[in-house]
């Protein structure tokens, strides 16, 4: 295992100490329990937006804390959901009296821990609504399964809901908006390499030199299918077709196209992917109106990409364009 770390058990704490040192202008970090919050939280009268999940997906979520996006983020150990007491403490710390939205990615662990925390927060008189993101089209959905994972759309939901909360909307409105974003977004990802959980010390899976995993999540888990390595254009064709056909996105739709890097894939490749996606969508009559290209929801040092499409309307465009000032995403401020 080759990583720029000290002891595996210290990675998350030291990362948080690094974030605290680097971004004290915008965020404050609690080390017991772990959470990252806006430096100016609680913002009185504003709905607070809180998310969280395992570490190893940076900049998500800690890097998205700040004006116009999250009020707090709760990082668990690497790829492990945070615990209820973290979520509860963060929820209390940022609650400004207008209620707290929990944006939860659909994983058994995230759901259970956020549920427990929400129950406890409600006991403390805090209004909490939870919205679950589940945009991963690689997973077959069914009532009888854990359902689809929450992946790329989570980043977009955090930005858009953060803007809405900043704009003074009520908790139920922000929650409704979050469900709208989730309902209109779809994602699929792939990996060229595995990644190594620091505490595990070796790659989660092994892939041959001419193989790739299709339909991966963001936890270094193997994908739904192993295939022969293909060109960027072919890979985009597979991912984008699955994504587009699922919603489905139709000719005339306006979308936000999000080409995400999994952590070990350099930007030069992401632009090659974006080019292919741009061409693919043009061929389907779908107009890219906004985009995001870069490593925003990662899987440690995994090489790979995911493609997220979000169907836009004027409201979503306006909220996407609203100022945001976080370590991981910033414009207009």
């Amino acid at each position: 295992m080759k990583k720029l770390i000290n002891r595996p058990e210290d990675v998350v704490r030291e990362e948080l100490e690094g974030i605290a040192a680097a971004h004290s202008d915008r965020v404050r970090v609690s080390l017991d329990p772990y959470y990252v919050m806006r430096a100016d939280a609680p913002v009185q009268g504003k709905v607070a937006v809180v998310s969280g999940g395992g570490s190893g997906h940076e900049p998500m979520h800690g890097g998205f804390v700040g004006m116009g996006m999250l009020d707090a983020a709760c990082p668990g150990e690497v790829f492990t959901s945070p615990t209820p007491d973290q979520i509860l403490a963060a929820t209390k710390a940022v609650s400004g009296g207008a209620g707290v939205l929990h944006i939860v990615k659909n994983y058994t662990g995230d759901i259970l821990n956020f549920e427990m925390a929400a129950d406890l927060a409600k006991e403390d008189g805090i209004l909490v609504e939870a919205v679950v993101t589940n945009d991963d089209v690689a997973v077959q959905d069914s009532l009888y399964t854990a359902g689809r994972r929450g992946v790329g759309v989570t980043v977009l939901a955090e930005k858009i809901c953060g803007a809405a909360a900043e704009g003074g909307r009520s908790l139920s409105e922000v929650a409704e908006l979050c469900r709208k974003v989730n309902a209109n977004g779809r994602t699929m990802g792939m990996a060229l390499t595995s990644c190594t959980v620091p505490a595990a010390g070796k790659p989660t899976f092994e892939l041959g030199e001419d193989e790739m995993e299709l339909g991966i999540g963001i936890h270094g888990e193997p994908g739904r299918e192993r295939r022969q390595l293909a060109t960027a254009d072919e890979i985009v064709e597979v991912l984008a077709t699955t994504v587009v056909d699922d919603l489905p996105f139709k000719s005339g739709d306006r979308v936000l196209a999000f080409v995400n890097g999994m952590g070990g894939t350099p930007l030069i490749e992401l632009y090659v992917v974006y080019r292919a996606l741009d061409r693919f969508l043009k061929g389907r009559g779908i107009a890219i109106e906004r985009n995001l290209v870069g490593p925003y929801i990662t899987s440690l040092e995994m090489a790979g990409t995911s493609i997220t499409l979000l169907r836009l309307d004027d409201e979503l465009v306006r909220l996407w364009d609203a100022p945001v000032n976080t370590p991981g995403l910033r414009w207009g401020a």
């Binding site: 959901s81 662990g109 259970l112 854990a146 270094g220």
Partner: protein, 212 residues
Amino acid sequence: MGAGYPESLSMVRGFAQAVAANREYLTQLDAEIGDADHGINMDRGMSAVVPKVEALTDHDISGLFRTVAMTLISTVGGASGPLYGTVFLQLASSLKGRSEVGLGEWAEAVSAAVAAVQSRGKAQPGDKTMVDALLPAAEALQAAQAEGVPFSEGLARATKAAHGGMEATIPLVARRGRASYLGERSAGHQDPGATSSWLLMEAAEAAFAKGK
């Protein structure tokens, strides 16, 4: 014959040791169909549990299990944190007020724990989760109680049933937890959570069988 506080404490210690000894194994199982952290998670939790329970001065079985539960919930995270937290919370509430646990109480407590896990996690038997080890164990305990076999015999049957349930997860296609994302590819791998649940039943057997 029943198990008192010392045996209950010894069960918690034994589970912690078993988890530590099987940390890599559980993690490897999770690497195959999950995210390679189950052993790490459980070991982090049970390592935190041990000093907490050693420090307890009020030697109450229910309080002991409650401490285990709260510690797991606040240190493990993931799916297993709340789920094992639920197991121990339910054991704590089933055994409230008891200073000794016999086969009947244990059978009831484990059955209630499985039910609580199922209500939290919505897993059915055959979904390839810890339920597949815990439920057969609970049923074996109930059957043993009905047959009137000794506690130690009932405990042994529970461990065996958990082991059988754990092995039976191998061919299953997961429908709950992370492994479900792999779809058909999850078949052919043993569920990590079912494996740690078997270790739990084994720890209970080893500790409780020593009770007078």
